[in-house]
Amino acid sequence: MTLEPGERLDDYEVLRHLGSGGMSDTYLARRLSTGRLVVLKVPLPHLLSDPAVLVRFRREAEIAARLDHPHIQRGLPPGPQAASRPYMALEFIEGRTLRDVLEERKRLAAHEVVHIAAQIADALEYCHRRGIIHRDLKPENVMLTADGQVKLMDFGIALRQGARRVTWQRLSGEIGTPDYMAPEQIQGARGDARTDIYQLGIMMYELLTGAPPFHGDNPYAVMEQHLRTDPPSLFRRGTVPAALAYVVHRAIQRDPRRRYPSAAALRDDLLHPERITPEAIALLQHHLAGGARRPWRRAVLLALITAAGALVGALLWAGAFSGLLRPGA
């Protein structure tokens, strides 16, 4: 922690430390000229000399300043005083993170998940239209206000499409959980709108069941499952309506081309489940059961049944034939 309660930073007075992330500390502060409460995000001191880290931080501030949406934490314009050190001021949101809510309630009801996910999808659609991909959706980064409003936070590793990639050397422990990583991210791609859709799908899965679909002893085991394993089907859970199970499973398809093409399409399915046809649901269920990817299983089964039938037939025929030949028959 680098700032103490009561300390002044330009036009802000620090009230208390809120938390620490991989790159920065956050503080609750008051803007002295307006009296308004804000969140200050300050890069960790030992990262300050790393040019790549500063570029990332500046990008985050730029992205925050460009976004103005009711379901996204707002970035505040810098004050009249020149910034004495790198930091950014963000809207203070009174509420709890989805992680806190999940820890208390374990899982949420289907209608609550629809309500929350539709708002996130709305915020994502807004970002994607401006070429911004969040890439780090998880319950820790979603704030829920007392009146049920959702606010998407932390664009720390967000990407503006077309921007140069900035990577910096660091130790792997500083990277977050791979629970929400899309397969293409694991393979090193920058990701696009469908990457956010995958992460939203994983989050919805967790909200509905109390746990993300993939678990493992170490991060690599989880990554391997994202790449190779189908998630346990939600269609078998009585508490999840089939249309909602369809939305989640379509969002978390391994192949991005099989996911929703846009966050708007996902939101529309969430809000109008009656428009999802039974055929579409049946097809996805069939795919989940492995039908689409393992047609040879059916062929082998058919061949076995045919072979067994032929054997029984042959035995019967042989039996009848030998009976005919038996003396005294």
Binding site: L44, P45, H46, L47, L48, S49, D50, P51, A52, V53, R165, T167, W168, Q169, R170, L171, S172, G173, I175, I186, Q187, G188, Y220, M223, E224, L227
Partner: protein, 254 residues
């Protein structure tokens, strides 16, 4: 003893961490109190290098979190001993063949080892800059150790990711075989810089000359004999080049 260290990113402590690690490694490996067997001395020196970086970071809050890679090559008697943490590399050239003796301790390398990404994906993966092991951070760093019988004419190339990230193995092999150590170092660094050279680049090339038969004394005596002959007799050469960047601090002896 030859060593390369690369402080992590632009951390304030990156340059300090790499310098401290190399210094502690040399100090403890050559100490009269070090174990007589080179592999034990090297293990001990790596552990102490880690301790030194950690201790320095703990006593200076502004250096909090500083880390470094450390890759060391010790020649003693008829063997080469390698200790390695991070994403530095040691290549070995014997005859016309080049072989990589170290594994990268990076996320991309780990994903590749597990068959989750292809070699082509690994080359561009952002996880190639994300280390899974380093000196000076948190838990003890678990170095890899390798021992290799030496032959006259063996060449070792020690380099940081700034080189191998920009220059292909085959190019390294060709340059090393076609030029003197000093010339090869300069060409490799120039090649990496010409391709962007975003990272700092450190290269050391070690040519093994005539191998002195082991004497009755300790491994340390044998090392001294070998190195002395390499320098005085002109039978071998060890040279290094370094790109002009602040965070790469190479260490070398003699």
């Amino acid at each position: 003893m030859f060593a390369i260290a690369d402080g992590l990113g632009g951390h304030a402590g990156g340059a300090i961490a790499s310098a401290e690690a190399v210094e502690a490694l040399l100090e403890h490996y050559t100490s009269p109190f070090a174990p007589a067997r080179p592999e034990l001395a090297l293990r001990d020196a790596m552990r102490r290098a880690h301790g030194r970086v950690l201790q320095r970071a703990l006593s200076h809050p502004e250096l909090n979190g500083m880390q470094t890679t450390l890759t060391a090559l010790a020649l003693a008697g008829r063997h080469a001993y390698i200790a390695h943490v991070g994403d530095g590399r040691v290549y070995h050239v014997r005859g016309r063949d080049l072989q990589l003796l170290t594994s990268d301790h990076s996320e991309a390398a780990e994903l590749l080892r597990r068959g989750l990404i292809t070699p082509a994906q690994a080359r561009r993966h952002p996880g190639r800059h994300v280390l899974t092991r380093a000196l000076g951070a948190g838990l003890p760093p678990r170095p890899d150790f390798t021992r290799l019988p030496l032959q006259e004419g063996d060449i070792f190339v020690l380099c940081t990711d700034g080189l191998w990230g920009a220059v292909e193995d085959e190019e390294i092999r060709r340059v090393v075989l076609e030029h003197s150590p000093a010339e090869a170092c300069a060409r490799l660094v120039a090649l990496a810089n010409a391709r962007g050279g975003e990272d700092n680049i450190t290269v050391q090339i070690v040519h093994v000359g005539r191998i002195v038969p082991p004497q009755a004394d300790t491994g340390r005596g044998r090392l001294a004999g070998l190195l002395a002959r390499m320098i005085l007799g002109g039978l071998g050469a060890a040279q290094q080049c370094q790109a002009e960047t602040p965070s790469g601090v190479p260490g070398s002896m003699p």
